[in-house]
């Protein structure tokens, strides 16, 4: 190799190395700056619910509870809708409608989280409050619906997260469906399948990729900050109730980071950030693996099907 080519490779490689370095640095920094808290509290940190910074008591269970609960709820709402959209756009819709619909779903993904949050506070929360107040007494007795109808709470957060996850999951699911060979659908049709049955065959073929798409949506929901913190109520309590104001890991970081006066408080918060980092890392890796393995099954050549992250 010519020396100038080698120089080129090294010079350009240095910038690529910078990218690699940044990711490593994130992991290292998070671990490093949370050791104080990890050493002091150990696993108790995630088992207790008492979050009292003033007294130096840090129990982070409510945050991980809130994050998982809100994300799972959002996923339950968003997944059928997202898959329905993906199927409609890729299999059912008339050609003329396709490009506009894709544009509109991308627009949904492009709206900044703070704008959703703003709309959430002033439009969604009052609407949820009305629904909550209108709920009959008999249902209110259930733990799922107990508590005063404040409007802010888990339900509002789940709804707004669902709205934000839908365009994301549906864009990836759409891409995944596109890689299913047409011969699969044709084979089903030739056997006398109805439209629904042929699409089901295609979705079965793409099942790993679709699961990957859903998981990517999950990862997105886990890390969402602004929209959630503006409608969830920001109360560190573990509760099954959809009406109860609760807290997520991302939200507590957003709200309390600037107030962390002492080293232990800061370390505790950074530990929360570390766990959030690890969980989303794991979920994203798993989902990318699933999508990649499906793309490989469908077409052996290198596919440019690359699931992009939070920008959909």
């Amino acid at each position: 190799m010519r020396s100038s080519d080698f120089g080129f490779r090294v010079a350009v490689g240095a910038f690529a190395a910078a990218l690699l370095l940044i990711v490593v640095a994130i992991a290292v920094t998070l671990v490093n700056d949370s050791t104080l808290s990890i050493q002091k509290f150990g696993l108790r940190f995630w088992g207790t619910s008492n979050w009292d910074p003033v007294a130096g008591e840090f129990g982070a269970l409510p945050f991980i509870w809130g994050t998982l609960y809100s994300s799972v709820l959002a996923l339950l709402i968003a997944t059928p809708v997202a898959l329905g959209i993906a199927v409609f756009i890729s299999e059912l819709c008339p050609n003329a409608l396709r490009a506009p619909l894709i544009f509109l779903t991308e627009l949904l993904a492009a709206i900044p989280s703070i704008v959703y949050g703003l709309w959430g506070i002033f439009v969604l929360v009052p609407a949820v409050r009305t629904v909550e107040t209108a709920m009959p007494e008999s249902l209110r007795a259930l733990p799922l619906f107990s508590g005063p109808p404040l409007g802010v709470g888990m339900f509002a957060a789940a709804l707004i997260l669902a709205v934000m996850v839908v365009p994301f999951t549906s864009a990836i699911a759409r891409e995944v469906l596109r890689t299913v060979p047409p011969s699969q659908r044709e084979g089903a049709f030739a056997l006398g399948a109805t439209r629904f049955e042929a699409i089901r065959a295609a979705m079965f073929y793409a099942r790993t990729g679709i699961i990957g798409a859903v998981m990517l949506g999950f990862g997105r929901a886990l890390g969402e900050t602004m929209a959630v913190t503006m409608v969830i109520g920001n109360n560190p309590q573990v509760s099954l109730s959809l009406f109860a104001p609760q807290y997520t890991m991302a939200a507590v970081l957003a709200n309390e980071f600037t107030e962390a006066a002492d080293a232990l408080y800061l370390a505790a918060l950074i530990e929360i950030g570390l766990v959030l980092f690890v969980i989303t890392l794991f979920v994203n890796m798993l989902s990318r693996g699933l999508i990649w393995s499906m793309a490989r099954q469908a077409s052996p050549r290198r596919s440019v099907l690359v699931p992009r992250g939070a920008e959909a």
């Binding site: 690529a16 409609f88 949904l108 002033f122 602004m226 690359v306």
Partner: protein
């Protein structure tokens, strides 16, 4: 026999399924319409000249604007771009030129990972790396955080676009005696340049709307400032501060700020789409 009807339940189920999918589309468009409607109707009232030219008034006093925030967002995104474009584009170049190596796989993995890191965690990272050593919030910290978020987006877009450039171009340049460096920078990158620029513009639009990573890096500033080592205001953080405040007037300004953000996003998306279509048109001949 052909005349025997297929069991009607199957046909009905198929029709119901199609209807359900269409319903899902409608269901997704409803919040979109809702959000856009409110942002436009509430925000347009407060989009006065004062909004764009004045700084915020002291707490509780009506009036004032977001001039400092708008400038702040511009400076922050410019900083982010200055940092992310070289690293992102050149990383993309490396991945496209030397795709097989283990190092390339590691870089690609790192880019995908970074893409998936929640923006608040990136804020925490920027805090630890820039704010702590400097001992206070600063524009630099905010620009750094946004830059870190931009890098993987630009890397991936650049790599994909460079891979689309026909190999014939690369070989043609090399056959004429060009060094690798010259072939890449004078032939291949220019061929993909419109797409790369589109990618950068879309990435800019995206991070201009980010709030979480700025909350404790660039923080906020009631006054007009362009200093790199002082906290700076930004549209997103300002909207957040106003939204959770108890003042009606600030709520109205928050909607206006949201309208500005949505407009930026819309304009950039449409511009990117038009540019991409034009490029496809030229190529498609």
């Amino acid at each position: 026999m052909i005349s025997a009807r297929t069991a009607t339940p199957r046909k009905v189920l198929s029709a119901l399924f199609v209807a359900a999918c269409a319903l899902c589309v409608a269901l997704a468009l409803v919040p979109l319409a809702f959000v856009l409607f409110f942002v436009v109707s509430q925000g347009i009232q407060s989009l006065t000249v004062e909004f764009f030219t004045h700084n915020p008034r002291p707490v509780g006093e009506p009036g004032g604007g977001m001039a400092n925030a708008i400038v702040g967002t511009l400076i922050l995104t410019a900083l982010a771009a200055a940092m992310a474009v070289p690293i992102g584009v050149l990383s993309g170049v490396y991945l496209a030129e030397y795709p097989g190596s283990r190092f390339a796989s590691a870089v690609r993995f790192a880019a995908d990972t970074l893409n998936g890191v929640p923006s608040i965690v990136i804020g925490v990272f920027a805090y630890a790396v820039v704010v702590l050593p400097l001992r206070h919030f600063s524009t630099l910290a905010g620009g750094f955080a946004l830059g870190v978020m931009m890098i993987p987006i630009i890397t991936r877009t650049t790599e994909e676009l460079l891979l689309l450039v026909p190999n014939a171009l690369r070989e043609g340049a090399l056959a004429l005696g060009a060094t690798r460096a010259r072939a890449v920078f004078t032939v291949i990158v220019p061929a993909a340049l419109p797409g790369i620029i589109t990618g950068v513009v879309l990435a800019l639009a995206r991070i201009a709307g980010e709030t979480a990573p700025l909350l404790f890096t660039s923080f906020n500033n009631r006054f007009f400032s362009t200093s790199l080592v002082q906290p700076i205001s930004s549209i997103t953080v300002q909207v957040f501060t106003y939204a959770i405040s108890p003042y009606e007037d600030w709520h109205r300004q928050a909607w206006a700020g949201a309208l500005v953000l949505v407009t930026i996003v819309l304009v950039c998306s449409m511009a990117a789409r038009v540019a991409a279509a034009r490029v496809a048109n030229i190529r498609g001949r």
